[in-house]
Symmetry: C3
Subunit: 416 residues, 3 copies
């Protein structure tokens, strides 16, 4: 349970809010690289942490992310022309490069130096791992790009996507670091009982895993162990990578050859977020249809919501729910969206009742609240500056019960 | 005319508002019995007096009406599974019975007693007269179910329905206790004149009826008499049954054999209400197509608005309005909706000009305001506790002018 | 740049706001005459300066513009019956004439004099130049109707229209008195350069015209001169006629025989406006397809927005934008709408950077702010009372550079 004050602290991310300032100290995904497919292609509009922006790829292939509003008379640069190394407002022809400098002002007399005095807000942007990343914080605090697994593999080894979710970003994160819900929301029938002998799926078998959280330099890793029979535990270790990324445990075989997937939840505004999804395999290209189901969803073209969404009750099929799956909702990613959106635009955490399986959620909130309080007191919060900090993966292994959590993280290391 | 303060008092019904607290001292219709057709059928979502709720019929056939939000992490129970005597949240499997007790918490260790500490808000609900009724007030003040006519007849003797109306509930009531408007809104052309010899319809013949209001134990009854020729009055006696029900006068023949209809207006939130409609005949089953026109309207499946609504100007046909009917709008119930919604979400009663025909409206508001003021002063308002109080019907009779209002109510009793 | 305070002053026009009171001292277009095609035709609903109104043409052909809400119980008169010299509410039959007097009250007893005490808000309205004009200010300050060119010609010499634009009215005006943008927003490729020898269009040839503003009795006229080669200037003189009208310079040949067009922007509410468009030729009837493109747009029937609007990104064609026109948007009027709406519902003028070509905009704002401040201090602002003040037109001429602005206005007079 959070106080209303703390709930607002972690959920509000507009300019000047403590949480917004904290998140702006990280590189965050803004859009997919393929949404700006080539130099001088059409610009794309964006909303990140309540800021309206326009992204464009210039003639050199570099990406600019600038204010949506032309500083002259506030026309939208989304309608602008992406021309020779700059975006030109169609209202009076003012043109800006990716650094925000005004490089042409044809509506003013040639002898005027007004052009040199006008800048547009522009944020550093980088193509990295299939995403366009943006850094919206103080220039002097800009960290290295995170060396996430999917950025370190060839392009055909990864699959990336994004979609809009109609809820505050924290609800997305709280679903992502909640190993417990996979035993319910994502599983088939019959209802989950620890002692059901017909239950073959490891994560289905024990709905009440034990949780252990361990703070790391990239955020934290938490382990959830479930009874797996024969004096063994089924361990799932999930890294929470600041500011809001996860890697889902799964797969079997050699950990170096598995396909991993994960999500990041980027605030659009306080009541909507972008779920970015990445899947990758370090050892081979991904196969057709492989990768997280979220990356295979059909989206509405303008909103980028799933076509199966709250307006159609996520396509819930009550007969299927009664007889085949726990939810009657087809896609894992839509199951997540249905539940996270069902809490309302901003979950009222003053009325929740957290249990033992919510330990990672509590850990995440404490990290966020500490960073917020630091910023409010003028203390610079601790932010990983080195990209190599983020060279991590998840773990899903069956191990003897005698293996401790610490030993687990050593035997099958999360950090790689 | 009301002050802005009093207008807000009677129109706001959220938890903690005086009017909301007063209405919560009555059983109110929540949905139709047939919307929960059988044990363990899919749950239905509800909004009543600004509270978001979920209704389900359990394995025993009993109905539970509980908070929409699971107390664990606030996922919506609408997506829940209606299982063996309880509704189970699909996020982590917490299950609640119709009393709000948590009867299973599979995400917590078996030895945990957390389950016993968690409850969900649950309201008493009863199947009665074709409606599911809910009582949302203090347990110790719960009255008997009202012995309304349609609840005392076999199922085939009644017809019930509900639809959404996009205005505050008081506008609905004020249309329901306004005998005067039937001479205009619901009638055909030519325009209504008291002295028109071609005017055959009794209620059409005299657009300026005289009103008399008499307080009763169930609320009040008002009589409206119109000139009926031959030294007679056409009397219409309408009961206003607390907190917001009416029975429309009509029909002829033996009062015990007439088909009666009426409405109740249940606040959804402060700008929308549910109009519940009931028709019944104590002496025989209803015939095909019989009963109030509101129960035969085609509704939009998700919103439960009429498909003929404000977005299409209620299908107004100006040529029909010019030559055939007063409004050019086809259905009586849509005529009511058009006018009540046209006042805006909450009618600005500081700018109205009430006339003599608005006497019942004034009586209703006084009752409401008195109850609100009682509650604000810590005085428990007078609420009928006995179900038999509501054994009433309406009256429509032509009587000699010499018969007084009091005699009228004796000769053709409203109370039955 | 404006302060937030001044931006609100000029953009808010509801009853009681300084700018709203100032605008209410002028006749403003309310709808097209053809929208009330004949006596006793269906009423039309309107929203002007945040006031909800209903317009009807009575049996004599006179137009009434009255409050949307019947003073009895606040039903909308839009659903009313337009009967023998009055509009009758369908709820209880109260009837009002164009002066706002209640002329029938059939729901009250015949002997009642309540009718004489009830009035509805009614504004003077006039058919003039193809528009219905309304005067919403103090009766004693009502000026003459403006003798605008299109009102002084036979009906077939003019073309009028209106459409909704989803932004504050000031953004419309600021586009209308901005001669500079036509060199960009409305022109073809290649990009505009002053020195491009292939550039044949006069207004395209010089993107940085010089501006001169001259205050007049009707508002102001501004001249914009562009290099036209051979020691000549291309002059465009645009009158700004209070409170919010313009005439676009254009055409060639004898100024008395040109077809002129212009716009006025009437606030609907603070975030939407009605763009009224007029085209006329004093010397001959307009030809098929002639007149401003805004008058040939297809509109959505209920909203009266262009069917090409923000919901479909104004039909922008990025390939056309890359190779053919500056915007990739087809219609001049839609180009204007796209840019004006893209600034948001109310442009944030605290963040703009005005240049030399924005001189007329600055002049307009100063006039508005002075009028607002006068009203706030109890000083009656200067408003032209004589209709003949508005007998003006625009000028588009190529003249020797030796001709001064003042000489220009004498040689090709704006006032006619």
């Amino acid at each position: 349970m959070l106080s209303q004050h703390d709930n607002e602290l972690i959920t509000k991310t507009g300019p000047g809010t403590p949480m917004g300032e904290y998140l702006r100290r990280y590189w965050v995904p803004a859009l997919l690289s393929r949404e700006l497919p080539e130099p001088d292609c059409p610009p794309v509009r964006l909303k990140i942490m309540c800021e309206e922006l326009v992204a464009f790829r210039d003639t050199n292939g570099d990406v600019g992310i600038v204010d949506n509003y032309c500083p002259h008379r506030r026309a939208s640069l989304f309608f602008g022309r992406n021309e020779e190394c700059g975006i030109r407002c169609v209202y009076h022809g003012w043109k800006f490069d990716i650094n925000g400098d005004c490089v042409d002002m044809p509506s003013e007399p040639a002898e005027s130096n007004f052009k040199d005095k006008v800048k547009i807000k522009a944020y550093p942007a980088e193509d990295w791992g299939g995403f366009i990343w943006v850094y919206m914080g103080p220039a002097e605090l800009k960290p290295e790009l995170p060396e996430v697994g999917y950025a370190l593999v060839p392009e055909h080894h990864r699959l990336v996507s994004r979609r809009l979710q109609e809820n505050n970003y924290v609800q997305g994160i709280e679903g992502g670091i909640d190993s417990s819900h996979i035993s319910f929301l994502h599983f088939g029938l019959p209802p989950v009982r620890r002692d059901d002998p017909n239950n073959k799926t490891l994560s289905n078998r024990d709905g009440a895993p034990h949780f252990i959280v361990k703070t790391t330099d990239y955020g934290f890793v938490y382990g959830a162990n479930r009874e797996a029979g024969d004096d063994k535990y089924y361990w799932r270790l999930t890294p929470f990578m600041l500011p809001f990324f996860t890697i889902i445990p799964g797969g079997d075989g050699n950990p170096d050859e598995r396909t991993y997937s994960g999500h990041g939840w980027v605030p659009a505004d306080d009541e909507n977020c972008w779920m970015f999804t990445y899947s990758w395999n370090a050892s081979r290209p991904l196969r057709e249809g492989e990768g997280h189901s979220a990356s295979h969803l059909e989206l509405e073209p303008r909103t980028m919501r799933s076509v199966v969404n709250k307006d159609n009750d996520y396509g819930i099929d009550r007969e299927m729910q009664r007889t085949q799956t726990f939810t009657g909702i087809k896609d894992i990613s839509v199951q997540d969206a249905s539940i996270q959106e069902s809490m309302g635009p901003i979950c009222d955490r003053t009325r929740e009742h957290l249990g033992t399986t919510d330990a990672p959620i509590i850990a995440m909130r404490r990290m966020y609240l500490k960073a917020c309080r630091d910023l409010m007191e003028g203390v610079e919060p601790d932010v990983p500056r080195s990209g190599s900090t983020f060279r991590v993966r998840s773990v899903a292994e069956v191990l003897d019960k005698s293996v401790t959590f610490d030993e687990t993280t050593e035997r099958v290391p999360v950090a790689v």
